[in-house]
């Protein structure tokens, strides 16, 4: 079997499995939280200025970008390898005629798509509920696509990072928590080039916003202290980070011997 076909088969199997797990149900429910919030906001602020929708859209993006995709990527990314070890199901995979990197890449792709679908549902429902007054405005859809793109990029980059952690470390989830909610949440507000050592910096740099002087305007929450990198460079950085970490994860997975805990 070719490497591409192997990846495809692993992808298919784990996309199917992933939809069945309790973890997916829990995270899908968590994704409904902003939808409910958007609905409440819409009802409470009915008939008021459109700015209110913009403010809450920003809050929505903070939740999705800095919490939801991070926690999703943390749990799905680390589980690419770790769940096979903890569940002792790795034997079923590595005794098949599959190149080991195909297992990592196929599962990564399956889980990334699964997460993207959860995020897409959450964003689209909450975004359009908040912005029902602007549904005739074409720029709204461009903004939506931009947000969705940023979240998609975030899923790819974070999941690659956490997949790498899961392939290398035994307790990857703890290190991942420190990274995702410690390092990423702090370092992004550092002035100068320090913030460029976080993934979220590059994600924020490609947010679909129009600076209105003073840095950020309506998107102040998201762009607070951001010294953006050019969007093309940011996308390139995210792609390089994701690609390099995935390559490393594959290499470790191929070379490392995983032992089950007795």
């Amino acid at each position: 079997m070719t490497a591409r076909k192997s990846i495809g088969e692993i992808f298919g199997f784990f996309f199917f499995l992933g939809r069945r797990t309790g973890k997916t149900r829990v995270f899908a429910l968590l994704g409904l939280f902003p939808v409910i919030l958007a609905f409440v906001v819409r009802v409470v602020f009915h008939g008021r200025s459109g700015d209110m929708a913009a403010v809450f859209t920003e809050i929505l993006m903070v939740f999705l970008l800095q919490f939801y995709i991070v926690i999703l990527s943390l749990f799905y990314g680390t589980s690419v390898v770790a769940e096979e070890i903890e569940g002792r199901t790795l034997s079923y995979l590595i005794t098949r005629p599959l190149p080991k990197p195909a297992i990592v890449l196929g599962k990564y792709a399956a889980y990334a798509l699964l997460m993207f679908l959860m995020v897409a549902v959450s964003l689209s429902l909450s975004f359009f509920i908040l912005n029902t007054g602007r549904l005739a405005d074409p720029s709204l859809y461009l903004t939506f696509i931009g947000y969705l793109g940023v979240l998609g990029l975030g899923i790819l980059a974070y999941t690659a990072f956490f997949t790498f952690l899961g392939a290398v470390l035994k307790r990857a989830i703890l290190v991942g928590l420190v990274f995702g909610f410690g390092w990423e949440n702090v370092i992004q507000y550092f002035p100068g080039s320090t913030q460029k050592f976080s993934i979220v910096h590059y994600l924020k740099s490609v947010l679909p916003y129009r600076p209105t002087g003073g840095g950020g305007g309506r998107l102040a929450l998201l762009l607070f202290k951001l010294e953006p990198t050019a969007p093309a460079v940011a996308v390139l950085m995210l792609a390089v980070v994701a690609g390099a970490l995935l390559a490393l994860a594959c290499w470790f997975f191929r070379m490392k011997e995983y032992l089950y805990e007795e």
């Binding site: 079997m1 499995l17 002792r88 034997s91 079923y92 995979l93 005794t95 599959l98 080991k100 011997e257």
Partner: protein
């Protein structure tokens, strides 16, 4: 015969714990039983030959090809793990078909193979139930099904009979023997001696990471000359029978069982004893009702070898 699986000076350790120590072994087609207590190194050996572990020292090959990081060889190997672990949120059918996808078969081929494997293990009726709802025996059988579904030439079964009821065990033993009859290589591990005895006489005794003995049961018997064979003879006149053997130098010890009708001897030369016994019976006219060898089984062999 050519070795299908060959291990040469194989050693594996986990930190300070020695899992396998300088094991050299050649496994040929047919059934080979890997026997030893828990923690003896059976599973370590099986993981090494199925590429789940990398040897610290030595080599392991399947059909002359190295195992570690060589996925191509797994097209011809079926592995049934020891642990009762599954992707629990799928049905038996989804489990077997899902794993068959990794061999590059077409959709129709996958369905056909899965149906056949589940039929062999008699799970056709329950194939659409979630695995988490299966009984222990059913789980063991679906695990076996995934190991044979791709029709492998080599089948590695780690404690395959554990958790099965007597009928299930008998069926699985029959099935494993059928694979042997087809010329396949089957390696089975167990810590339960009668299970291995029921499957094969070609055994490898493993203890504390080392191979204590290998061969068929009589051959292993020969290896343990230091320990005499125990033979019981039930007779209408056991004392008269015993009197005939008093001067026999091949007899080390004689005793009488509490039933008063059985005379028990310990001898290093079993064949000589039986030859003489035949003569005594024919010439002396002493009636012999039953001859048995209470320790002529794998349990006894194993206990002698590990020095219990």
């Amino acid at each position: 015969m050519t070795a299908v699986i060959a291990a040469t000076h194989l050693s594996k350790w986990y930190g300070n714990v020695l899992g396998l120590n300088d094991v050299s072994l050649e496994i040929e087609a047919g059934i080979t039983g890997l026997l030893g207590p828990n923690g003896a190194g059976k599973s370590t050996f099986m993981k090494l030959i199925t590429g789940q572990m990398k040897p610290n020292i030595g080599t392991v090959t399947v059909r002359g090809r190295k195992v570690w990081n060589n996925p191509a060889i797994f097209a011809g190997i079926g592995f049934c793990p020891e642990h009762d672990v599954f992707y629990e949120d799928v049905t038996g059918w989804e489990f077997v078909t899902g794993l068959l996808r990794f061999y590059g078969y077409s959709g129709s081929d996958i369905k056909q193979r899965a149906a056949r494997a589940l039929d062999i293990v008699e799970l056709t009726k329950d194939k659409d139930r979630l695995i988490r709802g299966y009984s222990r025996g059913m789980r063991q059988r679906v695990k076996f099904a995934q190991a044979i579904a791709h029709d492998p030439e080599i089948i590695v079964l780690d404690e395959p009979l554990s958790g099965l009821d007597p009928l299930g065990k008998r069926k699985l033993i029959k099935l494993i023997k059928a694979f042997r009859d087809e010329g396949r290589t089957v390696l089975v591990s167990s810590h339960v001696l009668p299970e291995i005895e029921a499957l094969t006489s070609r055994i490898v005794l493993v203890h504390q990471g080392k191979i204590l003995a290998q061969g068929d049961i009589p051959y292993i018997r020969e290896l343990i000359e230091a320990h005499p064979h125990m033979i019981s003879v039930r007779s209408s006149d056991p004392r008269a029978l015993a009197a005939c053997f008093v001067g026999d130098r091949s007899i080390q010890k004689m005793s009488f069982a509490p039933d008063g009708r059985t005379f028990v001897v310990e001898t290093h030369k079993r064949d000589d004893f039986f030859a003489r016994l035949t003569g005594v019976v024919l010439e002396g006219g002493i009636e012999v009702e039953e001859i048995s060898s209470p320790d002529d089984n794998l349990q006894a062999v194993f206990e002698y070898l590990v020095g219990k």
